[in-house]
């Protein structure tokens, strides 16, 4: 065996892989190749090793002793986006995502080859930040201070950002305004349903969501109230562990999962709702994550069964679709008009007309966020063209691609245009765009070509990583005057609720 570097050898990695890789899953791959067209990295390169079939063949070769893992093996495992588009395409139902996590977990234990800043970033993120909601808050506060105090201007003016690698520079530029106070600090932990209560849902607030997209979390609560759900936000919850799990930090992911299970069990909820596809995908797989932990497997199964994306809950159980809206389109200048201000929006209608559109039931309530319960008059809403980039994990793991579309199609005065290849990963993939900038950039460029063709004004997404990546794409391709990337929840909130 060739020592990789002091303290770790490829030989150790080989034996660790042999132990951790699920040989049944490796055998289940019958190499039919159905996964090839679904795989973004295969599509970009046309190289078999860059496909799920190829990567499984490499894992199996290591497990069979046909090959010793080496730097190329490690690179190839890290090159996968983990979008899991191959799983719905697989006839034999091979759990590719699990195999990838097993491989990466072994690699993480033995690797010495990360670039310095990737290593620093990982350590800071996985151990220092994500597991600690309080520290995430502090980070949000620091970021807020940086963004608002003029420090950002100073740093940019002095050219200090040049000290950072390009992918981080680009991200810094498009990062939304951070918040020191998260959703609970801002609006409290319990929010009763408007009208009759259907069920109680626990909001999974997420760590990045709650720092960078606190408004989206607030909007999620209001939409859920509107749709008939009591919402509780257990404060003891923490990061879902998805970034850990996808990056090979299994133990970190497990301990986070245990804390979340406790927090939501204590809250006694009927559903655990997520508004981030990346988080949601791990939440629904907590049962798998903890399957070999007898003490927690029951709780994990309880949790996984209740975890659901906000769009699916709204479509399948919510009460939003009870009414019609009479809003008249104004402004014929097309899609690229100014974003409609919240105050212009009349969501609830008093006179029935038209077809089935999404609006709150006028009989149930007044305004989503308001307190007086008054029904505002029907007001004009500008016609706007919208399109949607799937969150891979929402689509491929939570298997929910219809619900977001149902919601978008039923919004009044919005024309939904299907984005060609919306089911393909945008290249964000957790921290992939930071660790594999070249491939991520190539994928993003292809994505933006398709996005441009939709001529949409709103590019909606269901996951913070995708949202940031789409913001980056819009910025990089000089489209920021014509298009905005917005979370689906924020768009729905704007169209349905009056703040």
């Amino acid at each position: 065996m060739i020592p990789a570097s002091p303290g770790g050898t490829w030989g150790e990695l080989a034996s660790s892989l042999k132990q951790s890789l699920d040989y049944d899953q490796l055998t289940n791959c019958m190499r039919c190749g159905f996964c090839l067209p679904a795989c973004p990295t295969f599509r970009e390169t046309g190289i078999e090793a860059e496909s799920p079939r190829g990567r499984i063949a490499l894992m199996k070769a290591v497990a069979d002793g046909l090959m010793d893992p080496d730097a190329a093996f490690e690179t190839q495992m890290n090159h996968c986006l983990g979008c899991r588009a191959c799983e719905p395409a697989c006839p034999a139902d091979v759990k590719y995502g699990q195999l990838l996590e097993q491989a990466r977990s072994s690699i993480e234990m033995h690797t010495k080859t990360h670039r310095w800043w990737v290593k620093t970033l990982r350590k800071a993120a996985f151990d220092g930040m994500f597991p600690h909601q309080g520290r995430m808050r502090l980070l949000g506060g620091a970021l807020q201070l940086y963004q608002r105090s003029g420090l950002r201007k100073l740093v940019r003016g002095a050219g200090l950002m040049r000290l950072f690698p390009a992918p981080m520079r680009e991200m810094e530029a498009i990062l939304p305004d951070a918040a020191y106070k998260g959703v609970v600090e801002q609006i409290g932990a319990f929010h009763p349903a408007k009208g009759d209560r259907i069920a109680t849902v626990g909001l999974f607030r997420g760590c990045i969501m709650d720092v960078l997209f606190t408004e989206t979390n607030k909007h999620t609560v209001e939409l859920l109230n509107e749709a008939g759900f009591d919402v509780v936000i257990p404060d003891a919850q923490n990061c879902c562990g998805a970034l850990h799990a996808h990056s090979g930090e299994q133990e970190g992911a497990k301990s986070l999962a245990r804390r979340n299970i406790s927090a939501f069990e204590a809250a006694g909820v009927d559903w655990i709702v997520s508004n981030a596809g990346g988080c949601g995908a791990l939440l629904v797989e907590y049962d798998h994550l903890l399957h070999d932990d007898p003490q927690w497997s029951g709780g994990a199964a309880w949790f996984a069964k209740r975890a659901v994306d906000v769009s699916k809950l709204l479509v399948e159980h919510g009460l939003l679709q009870a009414s019609v809206q009479t809003a008249v389109p104004v402004g014929t200048q097309g899609a690229a008009t100014a974003r409609v201000g919240a105050s212009d929006i009349g969501s609830t209608a008093s006179s029935p007309a038209g077809g089935e559109v999404l609006a709150a039931d006028p009989g149930r309530r007044g305004s989503c966020g308001g307190s007086n319960g008054a029904t505002p008059p029907a007001a004009a809403v500008e016609m706007v063209r919208i399109t949607y980039q799937d969150s891979c994990h929402l689509r491929n793991v939570m298997r929910s691609s219809d619900a977001p579309r149902t919601l978008m199609r039923s919004v009044a005065n919005a024309e939904f245009i299907e984005l060609a290849e919306s089911d393909r990963c945008c290249g964000s993939a957790g921290i992939y765009n930071l660790t594999q900038p070249e491939m991520a950039g190539q994928i993003l460029d292809h994505k933006m070509e398709q996005v441009k063709r939709t001529n949409a004004y709103y590019l909606l997404t269901s996951n913070p990583g995708c949202l940031l990546q789409m913001k980056l794409g819009i910025e990089k391709h000089g489209m920021s005057g014509d298009m905005q990337a917005v979370h689906l929840v924020d768009f729905l909130h704007e169209r349905i609720c009056v703040r």
């Binding site: 190749g33 090839l36 067209p37 078999e48 006839p91 139902d93």
Partner: protein, 471 residues
């Protein structure tokens, strides 16, 4: 490993990036869609044009290095497993549509083009390329040509060979030949075009193809016939053909297949039926209506329990999805799925279905049968586990018996997957000793040093078995 002198010259031809001999590349080109086969090549090369292919072959012939050309490696006969090592030549970079000739209704393209991409392109132009292998979302046109792929529309429209009218190919010597052209008639000498279609990469490397396109059918209708009696279902196939109706699609699914398909796709298929037939007719609306009514009558006269005609496209699509998901669903039953394609004359479908069931029972193996019954092409599919050597042995013995039964009924060992590695030992049963000798002589004429996909089609030794009769 290739000698460095060869590797460096290969790099010189295609550039550093497009010749690889690292472990990762070798492992990921050691298999194709066939279960249980794996063999490492010595190098992998990705040519960009015909001249590079010619230069590569000249070099490899000089050093007697085997070369396996391949597309996406979806074949099910071991046809692209490099059993004798050498170089795997991946054609993915040669993937352009060179021309769609709207006056001649032909398309000229490079072999690495994805089949579905091509079909979508011509459909966008209002034209029709009927061959539709189930792998078309993945496979390449070059691979389809090399294996002469079939599909669900083979019954009425024929298979790949019926649409290839011209080829450019590179011989083992590196010489470039052109066969056929945009011609509907051409009897100048032996038909090398047809010879190369289905030659499984053993005669030449195809670098360009001219394909025939046809106008698309104006309408189509889909129906489902359900049977309590397996024999009745199979006999219906022969009766329809005998009545001089050629449906576009005529597919058969037996009870175990119906069950797994429904369990997987939740389509509400009739689980109590012994078999179902999925039938589609296309063409002028009046003809379609008339044929579908006649077919429904035939089904009832062969004791179909129920006949249902899809009310609309959505329902038709649901039914076709059921058929297309058969392979998908079966693959979930056990880890290893071995799918074969024994084929018999259409009049013998019923006998063949019974023979497969009897053979499966005798060898105590699970074999589900579905397939393109209308063209006599059945897919008996064993669901098994590659790790259970004893069971695999029984599966292999069962398939030997199935091939023998097919030949006894006047059929063949493969209808659309090719001989490759898997069925090489059985080829002699089908074509006879003299047939093998002629084929060997042809191989020698094209590839005197035997560098093109060696080990395929011609087995070192044939399975010994006396075939008693031909039905």
């Amino acid at each position: 490993m290739l000698q460095e002198v060869i590797a460096s010259q290969l790099r010189g031809i295609v550039g550093e990036k497009w010749f690889r001999d690292d472990r990762e590349s070798l492992i990921t080109h050691s298999y194709d869609g066939t279960p249980m086969l794996q063999s490492l090549p010595d190098g992998v090369i990705y040519p960009e044009n015909t001249d590079q292919v010619a230069a590569i072959l000249r070099l490899l012939q000089q050093y007697r290095v085997p070369v396996v050309s391949r597309g996406s490696g979806t074949n099910l006969c071991g046809g692209t497993v490099p059993v004798e090592g050498g170089v795997v030549m991946v054609m993915h970079r040669m993937n352009r549509i060179l021309e769609v000739d709207l006056e001649n209704l032909t398309a000229t393209l490079q072999p690495g083009l994805n089949t579905k991409t091509f079909i979508s392109h011509v459909e966008g132009l209002g034209l029709f390329y009927p061959p539709d292998p189930s792998s078309m979302a993945i496979s390449t046109i070059g691979g389809n040509i090399a294996e002469c792929s079939g599909g669900l529309r083979g019954l009425k429209y024929g298979t790949t060979k019926d649409y290839v009218i011209g080829l450019e190919a590179v011989l083992a010597s590196g010489e470039i030949i052109r066969t056929g052209g945009k011609l509907m008639k051409d009897v100048a000498g032996y038909d090398l075009t047809k010879l190369l279609v289905g030659s499984e990469g053993t005669l030449a490397v195809i670098t360009e193809a001219t394909l025939k396109l046809i106008p698309p059918p104006k309408s189509k209708k889909t129906m489902l016939a359900m049977y309590k009696d397996l024999y009745g279902a199979a006999r219906t196939v022969s009766s329809i053909i005998e009545s001089r109706i050629i449906p576009a699609t005529l597919e058969f699914l037996d009870n175990p297949t119906i069950r797994v398909v429904d369990d997987f796709a939740k389509l509400g298929l009739p689980l109590d039926m012994a078999a179902i037939l999925l039938i589609e007719q296309d063409g002028d609306p009046e003809t379609v209506e008339r044929d579908i009514a006649r077919i429904a009558d035939i089904c009832r006269s062969e004791n179909a329990e129920r006949v249902s005609i899809a009310a609309d496209e959505a329902e038709a699509l649901k039914l076709l999805t059921a058929r297309r998901s058969a392979f998908t669903a079966l693959a979930r039953l056990r880890p290893t799925t071995i799918l074969e394609d024994a084929t018999v004359p259409r009049s013998k479908i019923a006998e063949m279905v019974l023979a497969i069931n009897e053979i499966a029972a005798r060898h105590r193996v699970t074999i589900c049968t579905f397939g393109h019954a209308g063209d006599g092409n059945l897919h008996p599919t064993a669901t098994t586990d590659a790790r259970d050597a004893e069971e695999i042995h029984r599966v292999e013995a069962a398939f030997e018996d199935i091939f023998e039964a097919a030949i006894a009924l006047g059929g063949t060992i493969t209808g659309e997957h090719g001989v490759g590695l898997v069925k090489a030992p059985f080829l002699e049963w089908k074509v006879g000793t003299a047939g093998i000798e002629v084929m060997r002589a042809i191989k020698l004429a094209f590839d005197p040093s035997n560098i093109l996909n060696p080990g395929k089609i011609f087995a070192k030794s044939a399975r010994k078995r006396v075939v008693l009769g031909r039905g």
